[in-house]
Amino acid sequence: MPLRWCREDRRGPAPEGRAGAGPLSGIRIVDLCWVYAGPVMTRMLADLGAEVIKVESSRRPDGTRLGRRPLDPVLPVPEGVNVDLECQPLNHALNRRKRSVAINLSAPEGRQILLDLVAVSDVVTDNFAAGTMNRMGLGYEELRQANPRIVAMSMSGAGQFGRLRDVPAYATSLAALSGLSSLVGEGPSLYGIMMPTYGDSNAAIRAAGSLLVALLGAVRDGQGQYIDVSEWEAGLVGLEEAFLAAQLTGSSPGPRGNTSDYACPHDNFRCRGEDEWIAISVLTDAQWGALCEVLGIAADGVVPFPAVTDRLRHRAELDDLVQSRTSARDAAELTAVLQAAGVPAFPVLSVEGQFADEHFVDREVFVQAEHPLVGAEVVPGAPFRFSTKHDTAAPPMSAAPLLGEANEYVICELLGRDRAELTRLVADGVLT
């Protein structure tokens, strides 16, 4: 069928993307993002096939390049490479499948190179503090003059305007500001903090989606766009349910632990071994019957509290009962038995447990990349699997780039300048 929404007549000529290299092949992103949330966002766009060129500089390196050197190079170090900026696993994880150009943006010539690169690109992204791009002379007006079809996204803690626009975004402060902290805990205990990086990754997912909405307008209609993303507001979206409850009941919800209004038992239960637990989620009365049978709870074939309403009323008692039957069991073995009996269950995995579990390799949640200095290493895969009739439509995996590894590609290939010019720009400290 025709793509009605595509407005066939307004589609331009096909770009030079390679079929089967991901739906965004042919899209070029000039990526000024650094540290965490921004790089997670552009990593997902790279997973969809976009060419992501990370713009950085040894004068002001991405914070994730810094710190004590945790990995040692096992391969020869090319001349001019500063090993101390190249061996951080977090940096490798956040930036795999990207390229890197090292430009000194405080030099006027460096700024001009960036604008020239923008002219041959589709997207510019940054996650600096609000207003920084304007101060660098790289505001949307300047970018638009370089390329009227450019989609520019700024992602910041609280957005580019509003009275708290200067609030910095760290995981802990974002969780507190967005109301998430008020929900993290159990019973009377409010912990407020989670080890998983919720705020950054959630903002990254929602920013990437917003960027593609705008990019559709640019590709289809030639419409440029500026997008102002607030990580704080991104953190509100998933709390929709809590905002409804607050307005409809008149009071703010608090922490609920693992409890559910509809399922019981519904908790993590201790198993054999140190800090080993199994998640068991009884969603139906039939599943409760099956759980009782597996755990030997149905003495004489009589299932206690067969109705969920009764179970919810006796939650603490039932949790103790189930706990008493799981504590001597192996979490993985019990999971297999329960799933076979139709009861939702799974061990509470540590990262060690995940590395030992074939699911995560089989599904390419963890993949290998060949880093030019540290060799083979594990990095996170794409959060989706995209297949077409041709192939799996995933671009080849590549390791995180060495700082400035794409200088020649950008200057000579994309901007069409000669090698003598490249040498001069390095000598003049413009490419550094």
């Binding site: 009605r4 096909a14 008020s182 805990g185 989606g209 559709l216 799974f346 989706f384």
Partner: protein, 411 residues
């Protein structure tokens, strides 16, 4: 048809994009809602009995009864509603005709069910420009593809629960249905990627996207992957203490709680200055951030709490912002609904969840320079658009419709 693919007045970047959403899961519903927010025409297909989501809380003030779920009203806003049992032969045939008219299908079926519904790659016609997104707990492949699950199970498998809760205490899932919301948002991202690819001629023919909630959590939210191969297990839950060097902590104050995080030593020193440099700051024990983090965080907490207890969240927030120390107040859900900064940015929008009943719901978390916000429409009652879709979209004659209703293929 009354909603309008070709209507000139239709608005939003996705106007004309037709999406069939097989209803039932929060993740698929959230994905569909994000598409509808940008003007896609989303047809939510329920079975011939109302989805269980229709009875989930929070409930409308007027409840109770079928259709009293405020959550469902919010997740389904701006969508069309059709009740069709795609598991019956006649229903399957209608469903296939519906899919043939669609650009995108979003569902939460496992691999066997997806194949039966004609939604896996081999079953899709070669020339059909359809993007089919499955959002399931464990994905369409791998050893656990047929495992049962929910948010609790996914947070366990995704190395999320391991990092939330008291030290050595019970692991906790993400609050609410956050795991499902994240998976839904990743589904939306994949659909948008396919839309750009089709408009740009870099995607042709059917595309199938497999989103697993466990994989989304493990690859994007878990903190262990990068550190494990060289540092061993990290990210074990630690109560009110976070992953970064001390202070990365959540503590009580006069009127609630604050989150304190100092990425740099100089920020911690400035925080101590704010406290008036109490006598203990001279002790090197309270300058060694690694030892404070690993050996005695509670001891340092106890030194901060009396100072915090004498001040409100806003007082602490103002003092710290002035000195560029990243401390933030912990807001309650109710407080956020009227927060001045969020009002400045129109972060909440009003939604009619039932006749005469309006609530504030978080809006799109980004401001676009020239993409208009599409007005929200009240979500469909059960089967509200079944007849219209049968007549207008599928061209089923009235006499056949009667048969379908009588046989409970549609409702």
């Amino acid at each position: 048809m009354s909603w309008a693919a070709s209507d000139e007045s239709s608005r939003g970047m996705l106007a004309g994009l037709r999406v069939v959403e097989l209803a039932g899961s929060v993740s698929a519903a959230h994905c569909g809602r994000l598409l509808a927010d940008h003007g896609a025409e989303v047809i939510s297909v329920e079975g011939t009995r109302p989805s269980t989501l229709r009875s989930r809380g929070p409930h409308l003030r007027r409840g109770p009864g079928v259709g009293d779920s405020a959550l469902h009203a919010t997740l389904s806003c701006s969508k069309q509603g059709m009740a069709l049992d795609h598991r019956t032969p006649a229903g399957r045939e209608l469903f296939r005709r519906l899919v043939a008219q669609a650009d995108v299908v979003v569902h939460s079926l496992g691999p066997a069910e997806a194949q039966a519904a004609g939604l896996s790659l081999p079953e899709l016609a070669d020339d059909h420009q359809l993007t089919c997104v499955a959002i399931t707990h464990f994905g369409q492949t791998g050893p656990y593809r047929d495992f049962l699950g929910d948010d609790l199970i996914c947070c366990a498998a995704g190395n999320i629960s391991f990092g939330i809760g008291a030290r050595a205490g019970r692991p906790l899932k993400l609050p609410l249905s956050l795991a499902s919301y994240e998976a839904g948002a990743v589904g939306f991202l994949a659909v948008m990627g396919s839309a750009v690819g089709r408009a740009n001629h870099t995607l042709d023919g059917p595309a199938v996207v497999d989103v697993s909630t466990v994989d989304v959590l493990a690859s994007l939210f878990s903190t262990g992957i990068t550190a494990y191969p060289y540092r061993g297990v990290v990210g074990r839950r630690n109560g009110n203490h976070g992953l970064a060097l001390y202070p990365d902590v959540f503590l009580p104050c006069a009127d609630g709680f604050v989150g304190i995080v100092c990425n740099q030593l100089k920020q911690w020193i400035r925080f101590l200055e704010l406290m008036g440099n109490p006598s203990w700051v001279e002790n090197p024990r309270y300058r060694d951030r690694r030892r404070m983090t690993e050996e005695y965080p509670e001891e340092v907490d106890a030194l901060l709490v009396p100072w915090l207890a004498e001040r409100t969240r806003e007082e602490i927030f103002d003092l710290c912002r002035d000195k560029d120390v990243p401390v933030a107040p912990s807001y309650t859900i109710t407080e956020l609904l009227s927060h001045p900064h969020l009002i400045d940015r129109a972060a909440f929008r009003e939604l009619e969840i039932a006749e005469g009943e309006r609530v504030l719901v978080p809006g799109w978390p980004a401001v676009f320079s020239s993409i208009e916000t599409v007005p929200w429409r009240r979500g469909p009652r059960f089967g509200e658009h079944t007849e219209q879709i049968l007549s207008d979209l599928l061209g089923v004659p009235e006499s056949e419709q009667e048969v379908l209703y009588a046989a409970q293929v549609v409702s």
